[in-house]
Amino acid sequence: MSVTNNADASRMRTVFFSILFVLLSLLAFSFPAHAQQNDAALNAALSDLNARSFKAKTAAVQALGVYGDARAVAALEALSEGRLYGRKSDKSVVIAERDGKIYRLTDPATGVSAGEATSRELKKIIANNKLRGLIRGVLGQLALSSSDSELRRAAVENVISSPTGGSLALLKSARDRETEDDIRARLETGIATLELGSDDPALRRAAVDRLADGNDPEIKSLLERRLLKNADGSFVESDAQVRAEVQEAVSRINDRLALFGLAEDLIFGISLGSVLLLAAIGLAVTFGVMGVINMAHGEMIMLGAYTTFVVQEVFRVTMPAEAFGFYLLAAIPAAFLVAATFGILIERGCIRFLYGRPLETLLATWGVSLILQQMVRSLFGANNREVANPDWISGAISIGGGVSVTVSRVYIVIFCLVVVAALAAFIRYSRFGLQMRAVTQNRGMASAMGIRTGQVDALTFALGSGIAGVAGVALSQISNVSPNLGQNFIVDSFMVVVFGGVGSLWGTIVGAFGLGIVNKFLEPVSGAILGKVVVLVIIILFIQKRPRGLFALKGRAAEG
């Protein structure tokens, strides 16, 4: 008997403790970890709200704020809205909602129902405007301990931008319990910013030391303000030693910001380079591999962009709204096919009669480009067509130091690398790629070996055009879709191919990224347009040194 009893009791105890444990973990999950420790203090402060004098109420509200428990939020909101009552029977504080003749009560600390009461059993806790103002501030501070990290982030910014007397202590306690790194970093800068204004030079120096590690342009200007002089000629920062440290910190931040500026130029250069590469890579096939000057190459890009527009409109009409964002993926093969089809038509209808006469090819394809432009203008109108960024490539990524990149640019860099890798693999490993290389190296011999050179020509041209069409899909995301879209890229893409070396895929890649990065590094020095002029002049001069580009083909193939 006693044995069973004992066993029962121990089982009961286990069950009880596990339930308690689950409850506690739930609590720990929904509130910051410290919350349970000071329930008594919280309850004390809450019941103080029911004090007689406004002075005591004010003290209680402030205590709740400094104490920083999110559970106080409900009580404070109720107080400022006049829904907080004192129950006469046990002097406890309750939130009451009127329901006909009776009031339904809730315990402010737990949110659990506390029964019902009539109006005679309750006494309303009165707040005045001053108290309501205080409550608004305290509520803002309390958001610092909210479980929602977004709310906390906003609250941190709020407190930093309009600090009050208690803010420093508040930020410090918030920092001690903050779990997310970026919010804690923000809190640290906030604390240092506030300490910068303290009366103790030692504290100020410590704050400067900590701020010197940041890379925020805002902090830099904050520090620089310490170096200014007041109207009466005295320094804002009275202590000479601290002033020297501030000076030092500013120069350190400046160095770091310069580094970020470099990184920004580099990133934007890579981004521009990937755009150039996308525009030029199809040309590297038609011009580089086949030796055909295709002035209608830009129009293939334009056709790709317009295909994207059409696919988008089709998706808008036929697909549910959730699937709309994926129109871009569907547009890639569509654009490839459209541009490749036009490519085959151009090759079979025009270019194949002109092999070996590059100047005539140039003029004829220019004619093709004029016709395509006018065709698109007649079909779609001369105005820009809007191609929307789907949700999954909208937005921007912040890198720090005030530098941020739009997500679409990042995707374009990735997309561009994928396209280049796919093309390189295709030329290297596929049967068609082999035939293509054979025809490039020795047309007569390839023909003698049974390769249909005419067919290879047509398909190679289709491949180059198709890739240009795919580039159009990407470019539709960052530039205007208009009949002139291709014109803007034609000179640039020829420059990339010539600079990199005709017939070399590597050359095209290096050429595109090289030109993109050089362009972006020149821009801050000379302005956007002049930078481009300088780059063009550099290319013209560069070709003096290496007339066949960076990665020139060697041997007989180069003697065309």
């Binding site: 004829a364 004619g367 016709i371 065709m375 420059m495």
Partner: protein
């Protein structure tokens, strides 16, 4: 006859001289007479608008001649000749800009309007001297010539030929366009130079000035044609043709290909500059639009349509295409680009010798033979 005039006469065949004489009579006497002496409303009256339009075509013909000289004879296809044309135009435009003086909107006698607008307080150094006509005229020749000399020296020295040269020259004109679009470059930016009042004291809005400019341009075309003809029929001309057909072989024979090409390219640029300088007072505006690569490519098709390597064909082509443009953009603007595009394709595919080539094969009966052969082949 002295030796010089004998050599001059040797430049053209007898029928050639007769054609030139007839065209000169029409161009120099009949057209102005029909404009100035025949009363308005008469069937034979040529309005001043048409005289100015003809004057424009004449400028294009000079430009086409310049291009034919290098493309048709030396095999250099420049897709950047708009740069030389435009620079010549800008030099003339700057002179006329300075002639406006205090009659401008802002009324500043020392600064053109756009500089006042940009808050510039003094004339940039590269505008100095442009208030003198002789200086501007010198610059019309010097600036395009110098640019072509430097560019050509760089290009030909490192043996950039064929399409590479075309692409590089296109990049050059593109770079110039970008530079001239900037307000800070100091040539009026996007709007360019316009609102001209007079040239050498003649009021530009008067009909007599317009007809006068037209006559000057006609004479200039004749002179340019004679210069080009003299070059291509000289020993240098034969060397250029040899370079066009087999550059390496000419080099191995010991000729300096680079110098020959450089000379003819620079000469061509100077002629293009002159064309630009005559063009601007007749249309009343010069802006960076003249530097768009598309315009420079279009010049090549004038030459190709007329017939490369004939000089005369370049003039025919410039008149034909620009006439068609004036007509089509008036009647059906949408069709113009289709027409021009189709022309590019058809000329290169079907009639590589251009209109002059077609005319010659008709004259010689080759065309008839070719058609007969084709028909016979179909019959078999």
């Amino acid at each position: 006859m002295g030796p010089i005039s004998r050599r001059l006469f040797a430049l053209e065949s007898r029928s050639g001289w007769i054609a030139i004489a007839i065209l000169l009579v029409i161009g120099l006497f009949i057209v102005p007479a029909l404009n100035l002496m025949v009363p308005e409303g008469s069937l034979f009256h040529i309005s001043t608008f048409w005289v100015a339009t003809l004057g424009k075509y004449l400028c294009f013909a000079i430009l086409a001649l310049a291009l034919d000289l290098i493309w048709g004879y030396a095999g250099i296809l420049s897709l950047g000749h708009g740069a030389f044309f435009g620079l010549g135009g800008y030099a003339m435009g700057m002179y006329m800009m300075r002639q406006i003086g205090d009659r401008s909107v802002y009324g500043n006698p020392d600064l053109p309007d756009f500089m006042v607008f940009l808050n510039w307080d003094s004339l940039p150094w590269y505008w100095w001297g442009f208030d003198q006509f002789w200086f501007a005229a010198l610059m019309v020749v010097l600036v395009p010539g110098l640019l072509a000399f430097v560019f050509g020296w760089l290009a030909f020295r490192s043996r950039i030929t064929g399409v590479y040269f075309s692409i590089i020259s296109q990049a050059m004109v593109f770079a110039i366009m970008l530079a001239f679009f900037r307000n800070e470059t100091g040539f009026g930016g996007n709007n360019g130079l316009t609102d001209f009042k007079d040239i050498l004291g003649f009021n530009l809005s008067q009909d007599s000035t317009k007809v006068g400019l037209y006559v000057v341009t006609t004479i200039a075309l004749l002179l340019v044609y004679m210069i080009c003809r003299a070059v291509v029929s000289s020993k240098l001309g034969r060397l250029l043709i040899a370079v066009r057909d087999a550059e390496s072989r000419v080099r191995f024979l010991g000729y300096s290909v680079t110098n020959a090409k450089l000379f003819v390219f620079t000469l061509s640029a100077v002629l293009a500059g002159v064309a630009g300088a005559l063009y601007v007072p007749q249309v009343g505006i010069i802006n960076p639009g003249e530097f768009t690569p598309a315009k420079s490519i279009e010049m090549a098709i004038w030459v190709a349509v007329g017939g490369r390597g004939t000089l005369f064909g370049a003039i025919v082509g410039a008149f034909t295409i620009n006439g068609a443009r004036t007509y089509l953009t008036g009647v059906a603007p949408e069709v113009w680009l289709f027409f021009l595009g189709a022309l590019f394709i058809l000329v290169t595919l079907v009639m590589p010798q251009g209109l002059v080539g077609v005319y010659r094969s008709i004259r010689s009966g080759e065309l008839k033979d070719a058609i007969r052969r084709r028909i016979q082949r179909v019959d078999v």
